[in-house]
């Protein structure tokens, strides 16, 4: 396999470019999108690379069509991705729910910008956290990842594909304008250095009869992709294990939805990833994610220099959320600070996790600039 970019060495590239290259190395061969700042460079890179690796890159008429097309491509057997920013992500929500309900592996990148509405197209924000987790209607679960560096944007894109395939679910890579346009040194591995997970296919005709049944007891049914003679019917309506619509049967609905949520929830320790910095003996915990974590690390160092025992918990996975871990942390520390580039979205989750065991304070900033380390330090020292 020949790649249209260097592999097995480092390159100095933007976050958006890193996401595109990672997707290709993860085996993505179908990209559909609609241009939007600050995500367009992902599309432009995919447009350049895809035809060369025998993949498809297509500019759809809008974001609704883009996510629809990648879901269709996934049922035809391709690993598929789309990328957008807030306004486009809002348009995708109905079909994101369709992907949850039909258990379709797809990767959706949301490069956040300032909102609501068309807001601040070129400036960073973290205002889509709630939208990523809860944007679609109904009870559901999916996976949301959040990188802090360009290297992480690369690595997490590969992980997003792996998780999507492993759990037959949509995965949202939630990044922001700052990382999207920032250039950093990124190691682009050789394909043989990357571990890829492929979706479970039915082992035989019998298994293929239950495309939505928990036949292996792990909550993840094998996916009978189209064109292989299995004659699978896929619907966004409430359906039984065989995929037959059962829209007024309470039991079928409960079984289906609880399994779909359960396959994420029961495997949350496999899915959740986080990093800590100086947290072991910390009395003050800073919990944050994405671009803000970079300022927070520096803030912790500055606080330590002043004799304040601060530590950082950087969340790489935003959903599923480890409420128990936050509660344990809250029992150990005096106070938790949550710096984020919105008016308090991660804060809600952290406060629920802390469960009153520690005071939780939001350090919010909006308008497009990342918190400076000193802004965090000043809040903590009061």
């Amino acid at each position: 396999m020949r790649y249209p970019f260097p592999v097995g060495k480092s390159d100095f590239i933007q976050g958006d470019e890193a996401i595109a290259r990672a997707a290709i190395l993860a085996g993505c061969r179908f990209y559909a999108g609609y241009p939007i700042t600050p995500a367009s460079e992902i599309f432009e890179a995919m447009a350049l690379y895809m035809p060369l690796v025998d993949g498809v890159s297509i500019q759809m008429e809008d974001e609704i069509a883009s996510i629809a097309a990648i879901i269709g491509a996934s049922w035809a057997g391709a690993k598929a991705m789309t990328a957008t920013s807030g306004p486009g992500f809002s348009l995708m929500q109905e079909n994101l729910g369709y992907a949850v309900m039909t258990e379709t592996p797809i990767v959706v990148v949301d490069v956040q910008r300032g909102g609501p509405s068309t807001g601040q197209p070129t400036l960073a924000a973290q205002g889509d956290i709630m939208q990523a987790i809860w944007g679609t209607h109904g009870d559901h679960s999916l996976i949301v990842l959040s990188p802090s560096t360009v290297q992480e944007a690369f690595d997490m894109t590969i992980r997003a594909f792996n998780l999507a395939e492993k759990y037959r679910t949509p995965v949202v890579l939630l990044t922001d304008a700052e990382i999207a346009h920032m250039r950093e040194r990124v190691y682009i591995p050789n394909p043989d250095e990357i571990e890829l997970i492929e979706r479970k296919l039915p082992a035989n005709e019998e298994e293929a009869k239950y495309p939505f049944g928990d036949i292996h007891g792990d909550g993840v049914p094998p996916m009978p992709i189209f064109g292989r003679g299995y004659r699978t019917y896929v619907t966004g309506l409430t359906h039984d294990e065989r995929g037959r619509p059962k829209t007024v049967d309470a039991e079928v609905h409960e079984r289906l939805i609880r399994r779909i949520i359960g396959k994420i929830e029961n495997n949350k320790h496999d899915i959740i990833s986080y990093e800590t910095y100086a947290l072991d003996d910390a009395e003050i915990a800073i919990i944050t994610t994405g671009i803000v974590a970079r300022s927070a690390i520096r803030a912790v160092k500055l606080l330590r220099e002043r004799g304040i025992k601060a530590g950082l918990l950087k969340l790489n996975t935003i959903w599923p959320f480890d409420f128990d871990m936050i509660e344990e942390l809250a029992e150990r520390v005096k106070k938790i600070y949550v710096p984020e580039m919105n008016l308090g979205q991660l804060y809600h989750l952290v406060r629920e996790g802390a469960n009153g065991k520690a005071e939780v304070e939001l350090i919010s900033k909006i308008g497009g600039e990342v918190h400076t380390p000193m802004e965090i330090v000043e809040k903590v020292v009061g």
Binding site: F30, P51, D54, A68, G72, F226, R231, G236, R244
Partner: protein
Amino acid sequence: MYLKSAYEIRDKYLRKDMLPTIFCPGCGIGSALQYTLRAIDDLGLNPDEIVWVSGIGCSSRVPGFVNFDGLHTTHGRALAFATGIKLANPKLKIIAFMGDGDAAAIGGNHFIHAIRRNLDVTVILINNFTYGMTGGQVAPTALKGLRGTTAPYGQFENPFDIADLAVSAGANYVARWSVFNYLQGINSIKKALQKEGFTLVEFLSPCPISFGRRNRMKTSPELLRWYQKITVPISKAKKMSPEELEGKIVIGEFADRDRPGLVREYEEYKKRAKRMMGWEE
């Protein structure tokens, strides 16, 4: 043409465990479905290589009843999903079954763009002038004066002529019949299925329950008589003035051409990309 019995077609292609269908007595969707299955059967197409795609509405429930791979998607979006299926696996033949509201209202944008791209798909469009599934609201195809629950005093907006729209947008094959024109209907679907690119067969289809009842045509035969009154064959229509055609619907074949389909265009594009990058001669 030798016509197999309807039972034979039913037993060969329908999912028995899904029957009965949700369709009301006198509904025309079953006829359009039967014609599509007969066309597939006559052509000897391999069902394993056909995927049925639909949006939301009564018409869109059809893929659930046929024993093929099927994707029942969100309202209006069938052709966008189909674009992904077809480009990811060009070997699959795609049949999109959709309602007039589904295709021309919420899905209007996907509809014209799928045609512009010449997406390789055969659309079977059920035009019943109404939103059947949600109980009889007006559709963008409703002729002026027709009633729906959201236009209780008679539609005041201009209707879309879907076939006309498809011809202008560039479809390779476009035909419109009423479900009572069964031979023409089957032949058109056969033609459509054999062609590359975007093909559309539109059926005027009786919805006695949600539509007829509100327009003083409670049964299928009453709707049939009305179709006979309002439809004009294309050969005759060519000689009629715009005034004479007011309130009429032209039926027949409107386009039959062979522009390259999206799959072929993309294959060429890939080759061009590799050439331009010096990857291949």
